[in-house]
């Protein structure tokens, strides 16, 4: 960095991003080297368990059989049709629940009396096992995708809601003083300051919400359905088709990872000013 002014600006060099001296490949990219190794070891243990202890394929299928089954699924139409159903239920529920949570939280933060009034019920519902309402949702919304979307929505709502409430209040006293000195209106302070300060919290909430609403969609399918990944899984389980069950579990794990990865990418793009090595933890523990 060269200073453009001739005048000396003591001790004011631009702060360089700390770069560590060159480290070994292993230390720099642990996920590229160590993670595949761990997978290999796990696969080895899996195979060894079957060979050494003679575990029945009905209890634990051989990895190769699972991959064969996965390949069959990936090359046929059935998986994609059901994948689309589940991902839609999840996507719609996640979006509805998150948007509703942001709106309701933003309104409540601006009406503190109402927020206080609601808080005991919010805490009660937060700690309530929301999965337990799934059978009721089927009664209310029928057997189609609606009850699954509803469960995904309910499960997505609370983690986002709680984080938005905390996030919108997380500006510092100095930041609020600054806005007061500038004579910013409440509305300006909200949009210029509070929304921006809340974004990292909102993303922390979204990450939890994504896992929960995927869980909600699949649980909903467990309870009553004729399509979706949850339905496929139950079918194979009932037929003692264990290879298929394991293959589907791998598919679900991949969806979860993909959603995590997409949200992480959005997080880094949108909240570019945060130090993402110290990711914000969700403001509060959540129960499903």
């Amino acid at each position: 960095m060269t200073m453009t002014r001739s005048e000396p600006v003591l001790n004011d060099a631009v702060r360089a991003t700390p770069k560590r001296p060159s480290q070994s490949l292993l230390r720099r990219y642990p996920t590229l080297i160590v993670s595949p190794l761990i997978a290999l070891v796990a696969l080895g243990a899996w195979v060894a368990a079957i060979e050494v202890f003679g575990v029945e394929p009905l209890i634990l299928p051989a990895p190769l059989d699972v991959f064969d089954e996965l390949w069959l699924m990936l090359t046929g139409p059935e998986l994609y049709r059901n994948l689309f159903v589940t991902v839609s239920e999840f996507g719609i529920g996640f979006a509805l629940g998150s948007v509703a949570a942001v709106v309701v939280a933003a309104v409540l933060v601006r009406l503190p009396v109402l927020e206080k009034g609601f808080s005991p019920y919010i805490i009660a519902f937060q700690n309530f096992p929301k999965i337990a309402i799934a059978p009721m949702l089927v009664t209310w919304f029928g057997f189609g995708p609606a009850p699954k979307v509803a469960l995904a929505t309910v499960l997505a709502f609370f983690p986002v809601f709680v984080n938005v409430i905390v996030g919108l209040k997380s500006s510092t006293r100095e930041q609020r003083d600054l806005m007061r000195v500038l004579q910013a209106s409440e509305w300006q302070t909200f949009w210029i300051l509070r929304v921006k300060v809340a974004l990292p919290y909102i993303f922390a909430g979204l990450r939890v919400a994504a896992v929960f609403s995927l869980l909600g969609a699949i649980t909903g399918e467990f309870i009553s359905s004729s399509e979706g990944l949850g339905y496929m899984l139950l079918q194979r389980n009932a037929q003692l088709h264990v290879d298929g069950v394991f293959a589907l579990l791998l598919v679900m794990a991949t969806i979860g990872l993909a959603v995590h990865w997409i949200l992480g990418l959005l997080n880094r793009k949108i909240i570019f000013w945060e130090d993402h090595d110290q990711a914000k933890r969700p403001a509060q523990e959540e129960s499903v």
Partner: protein, 272 residues
């Protein structure tokens, strides 16, 4: 004083002529769970327009509280504050404030940060942009407009905060230990730059600091406050010639003033 005044409400001000800040009988008591804490006891203070006045005192003497009351960020438990003859009942357009931390918004570039007062005032004029550009140049931040705060050192961030405070052409500049978080060398540089900028803007400046030498170097008057509850022990007139350089601090006069202020603080056994 041979200040080159470049406009603003402070234009043509000669220290000691017009009233800048008038503090009369201001007190402040904080209510806490452990009982009432008296932070300020009946403070009277007159700051002439265009003057540079520092408040020094031990930690917790209420000097920041006094500054915040003058700024309109807090209300006193008693007494009154007039700025330019008008009572203060809240922050005003003609006030500029610099906090201990730069308080730059990390998602805005330096330019957008210093334009914040214009944004809040819905001033989209090219004059506002020009003023931001000029002021950034004045503090040596030209070329850093499009950087983000975290890419700048603490000293540079505080310069940007100073520019933001100057955007509204304040007649009163309030600074709450603005250089307290900087290292000694950066602090000295910032002191020299602050004097240069102050002489160019002509704003009445109220400056809170822990540092006696910083106060002497910068000020026309150093107001010495006692420990809690804060009351004024002395108002030390600093008649060192301006424009000042660091050499001025080597003079016997500076040494005499410094030891006089230090004497006040040590007599109470309350130096923080």
């Amino acid at each position: 004083m041979t200040a080159q005044v470049t406009g603003g409400p402070g234009t043509g001000a000669v220290p000691g002529v017009l009233p800048g800040v008038q503090v009369a009988g201001v007190s402040k008591t904080f209510r806490t769970n452990a009982g009432d804490v008296e932070a300020l006891a009946e403070v009277d203070l007159e700051v002439p327009q265009g003057a540079f006045v520092s408040l020094v005192g031990p930690s917790g003497c209420g000097k920041s509280t006094l500054l915040r009351i003058v700024a309109g960020l807090e209300t006193g438990s008693g007494g009154s504050v007039l700025v330019a003859g008008t009572p203060v009942d809240g922050p005003r357009k003609d006030f500029g404030m610099v906090f201990q931390q730069p308080v730059l918004l990390p998602w805005l570039t330096i330019f957008r940060n210093v334009m914040l007062p214009a944004q809040v005032a819905r001033d989209r004029s090219p004059q506002a942009r020009q003023r931001a550009t000029d002021l950034l140049e004045l503090v040596g931040l030209d070329g850093f407009q499009h950087r983000y705060p975290r890419e700048l050192s603490g000293g540079m961030q505080q310069r940007a905060a100073l520019v933001r405070a100057l955007m509204s052409r304040p007649s009163l500049l309030l600074m709450d230990e603005p250089f307290g978080a900087l290292d000694a060398l950066t602090r000295e540089t910032m002191n020299a730059e602050l004097l240069r900028i102050w002489s160019e803007t002509g704003a009445t400046t109220l400056f809170v600091t822990h540092s006696i030498s910083e106060a002497v170097f910068l000020s026309d008057v150093v107001v010495v406050l006692s420990g809690r509850p804060g009351r004024i022990l002395d108002q030390v007139q600093v008649d060192l010639p301006r424009p000042r350089t660091f050499d001025v601090m080597e003079s016997p006069e500076a040494a005499r003033l410094t030891s006089r202020i230090r004497g006040h603080l040590h007599a109470r056994g309350a130096v923080g």
